[in-house]
């Protein structure tokens, strides 16, 4: 079969070239002499990272520095992060703030840019090893898991735990830390904080992966309820997954007698705690991570001083019904510090 390919005329080629360059030209207007900071998040669409970028933008504007933003296409997209770092360095960034998607795979790139005199700070989750960056400002995800685990254990009291875990994807550090920390808080057999594997003690009756997606989490919860209806505790990796799990529980008429706990502390999730949909969540502070990151960058521009080690930006338990012996914020208190759309 013979097909003829139309040859693009000069006019269409020019038109296309214009089409692609006009928006780029519009984006590249900025003060040339201001120092430049780059922020590279896991994705640029997850509300948590959108908030983090906003926080960095506000702090950068307040300090009169230019901020470049970038990120991977999806959680786990290491190549996308490498490209974003390279582009930001090429644009003149002297400080990179990064939330590594793949804690190990990003290390060679970070080492290379640090050798070129660039300051690199990890936000939200550390690199592996943590010393590969100049500092790490973030949440202790294992601790976040421990908080909701301890809360669930206290709420269960004497009941034998029958646990469902809705996880991220196999082998994801953040996912494993939250999952294993949660089991630790529950007082069950678990893995240590450096493990990337989700522990499955006998009390865990069903496990599934949601990739953080609400619809997929709903499917996991539905199937887990079919496989073992005696479940009394559900742990979900993040609030969208918890929302999917809640849907499945509500449809099965089990939302009142199953404890659902999760991690994030976004405004939507805090509202879900207030309404009694989630028993508890562990709140993180992405704005604070970004602000501290920009502050450290300013210090570096002024004096050349670098931060060091882990700065915990804090995590707080948010619970609808407080339990004696477990410190928690009320949903009202958490709502004033939540991230995302109110």
């Amino acid at each position: 079969m013979i097909t003829t390919q139309p040859v693009p005329t000069l006019k269409t080629t020019l038109a296309l070239a214009l089409l692609f360059t006009v928006p780029l030209a519009a984006c590249s207007k900025r003060a040339d002499e201001a120092p430049i900071i780059g922020i590279v998040t896991k994705t640029e669409t997850n509300p948590f990272f959108v908030k983090m970028q906003e926080g960095a933008e506000q702090a950068a504007a307040a300090n009169g520095v230019t901020l470049l933003t970038g990120g991977g296409r999806s959680d786990g997209d290491n190549a996308g992060q490498v490209a974003a770092i390279e582009n930001q360095i090429a644009a003149g960034a002297k400080v990179i703030l990064i939330s590594p998607s793949d804690a190990k795979a990003i290390v060679p790139t970070i080492t290379r840019v640090r050798e070129g005199g660039v300051l690199v700070i990890a936000l939200d989750s550390p690199t592996d090893p943590m010393e590969a960056t100049d500092g790490f400002f973030g949440t202790d995800n294992y601790r976040a898991g421990e908080l909701i685990g301890a809360y669930a254990k206290a709420r269960l009291g004497e009941k034998v735990p029958k646990v469902v875990t809705i996880d991220l994807i196999p082998g994801h550090p953040t996912g494993a830390q939250r999952h294993n920390g949660f089991l630790k808080g529950m007082g069950l057999a678990t893995n240590e904080r450096t493990s990337n594997e989700n522990a499955s003690p006998s009390e865990v009756v069903c496990m599934g992966n949601s990739i953080g997606d609400q619809a997929k989490a709903q499917t996991v919860m539905e199937n887990c309820l079919q496989s073992d209806p005696t479940v009394n505790v559900v742990y979900a990796i993040n609030e969208p997954s918890a929302a999917g799990a809640y849907n499945a529980l509500r449809k099965a008429g089990r939302d009142k007698d199953v404890l659902l706990v999760t991690v994030d502390g976004g405004c939507r999730g805090v509202a879900d705690v207030a309404e009694g949909h989630f028993a508890a969540t562990a709140q993180q502070y992405p704005l604070r991570m970004a602000e501290l990151g920009v502050q450290a960058a300013m210090e570096f521009f002024k004096s050349g001083r670098k931060p060091s080690g882990f700065v915990d930006t804090g995590v707080a338990l948010v619970a609808g019904e407080p339990v004696a012996g477990v410190k928690s914020l009320s949903a009202g208190e958490a709502a004033s510090r939540c991230w995302g759309t109110k």
């Binding site: 079969m1 097909t3 390919q5 139309p6 640029e44 669409t45 997850n46 509300p47 959108v50 999806s74 196999p170 069903c206 496990m207 599934g208 992966n209 990739i211 953080g212 997606d213 609400q214 619809a215 709903q218 499917t219 996991v220 539905e222 199937n223 887990c224 079919q226 496989s227 969208p240 929302a243 999917g244 849907n247 939507r268 995302g340 759309t341």
Partner: protein
């Protein structure tokens, strides 16, 4: 059984064998409630797969279907919650937008003669970006009840079936009728088999292709509504794996990726096979990593069967 029947009945036999196996492993599998659940879990991918099948029958492929579904659901929900549009108008707008996107795909394929793979790779990215811009990357909540009505259930015999699952079955029936009983349906097969021969025999191939892409777009809009009904929100993060999930369903259903050969009902069976395995393996307590592994093996088996039946006939 003759080899050419294997492509038609193979998927159905595979589904029945899988059901028999899981029924032997778990007492909870073979219950009306469990089947109702599987039907709800596959309805979104099932409806998307109708559009994907029509396009694959014309020897094309559509990578944009999942992102268009997310765009449609975010458009419907934002319009109805943030811009004061009535629920009915919001649904019409969403259906219109995905249909228009389908027409754009079709025009780029027919007029500018670009390969469907490339066109839909482009529109997939455009749709994803528009979805994020429109929703500011936030799930749209508190949607009016009309947008989630397809998630409601009706009592059928001993169980409750979601309206969305019934809608999926009805749409498959309509597509089956279109492909089997109408001239237009036969033209779709002709174009997929040999576009040049179809053109020489007097079929307006451009019009056939354009209507297929437009119909697919409309079906993605219906899937948008089903996704909202299932989750109760407009989720901008949805639809990221659906393009390949639909291709999986189509291939498992015995439709050839080379175009011109396939049965639309096969895609429904293909979607059900994935759902049955996911549900059944969970009931057996098999870790989810192995569920992914099994899906991969099934796809290769299905294509190998298709090739073998081709050679044999």
């Amino acid at each position: 059984m003759k080899a050419r029947h294997l492509a038609t009945f193979g998927p159905l036999i595979a589904l029945l064998v899988a059901c028999a196996f899981f029924a032997s492993q778990s007492a909870r599998f073979l219950t009306p409630d469990n089947f109702s659940l599987i039907a709800q879990q596959v309805m979104v991918v099932g409806v998307l797969a109708i559009g994907q099948t029509l396009i694959i029958l014309t020897a094309g492929i559509d990578l944009s279907c999942g992102m268009l579904m997310a765009l449609g659901s975010v458009l419907m929900t934002t319009m109805a919650t943030r811009h004061g549009v009535s629920p009915v108008s919001a649904i019409v707008l969403g259906l219109g937008a995905t249909t228009l996107a389908g027409i754009v795909n079709g025009l780029l394929v027919t007029r500018i003669k670009l390969p469907p793979f490339i066109v839909t790779l482009g529109t997939m990215n455009i749709a994803f970006a528009l979805t994020q811009i429109l929703s500011r990357s936030q799930s749209v909540t508190e949607v009016p009840p009309l947008l989630t009505a397809l998630g409601n259930t009706v009592q059928v015999g001993g169980t409750r079936i979601a309206f969305g699952s019934l809608a999926m079955v009805l749409l498959y029936g309509a597509a089956w009728w279109l492909l089997r009983e109408t001239a237009g349906g036969r033209h779709i097969y002709a174009v997929g088999n040999n576009r040049e021969a179809a053109r020489l025999s007097g079929i307006n191939t451009e019009r056939v292709l354009l209507s297929v892409y437009a119909m697919a777009g409309l079906l993605y809009g219906v899937a948008s509504l089903l996704a909202v009904a299932r989750t109760g929100v407009g989720d901008p993060q949805a639809g990221q794996t659906e393009n390949l999930d639909t291709v999986t369903a189509v291939v498992l259903g015995g439709t050839s990726l080379f175009g011109g050969r396939g049965v639309i009902l096969g895609s429904l069976i293909g979607a059900l096979i994935v759902g049955v395995f996911r549900n059944g393996l969970t009931l057996m307590g098999v870790p989810s990593v192995y569920q992914i592994l099994v899906t991969g093996v099934l796809v290769i088996l299905a294509v190998a069967t298709d090739q073998w039946s081709r050679r044999a006939s």
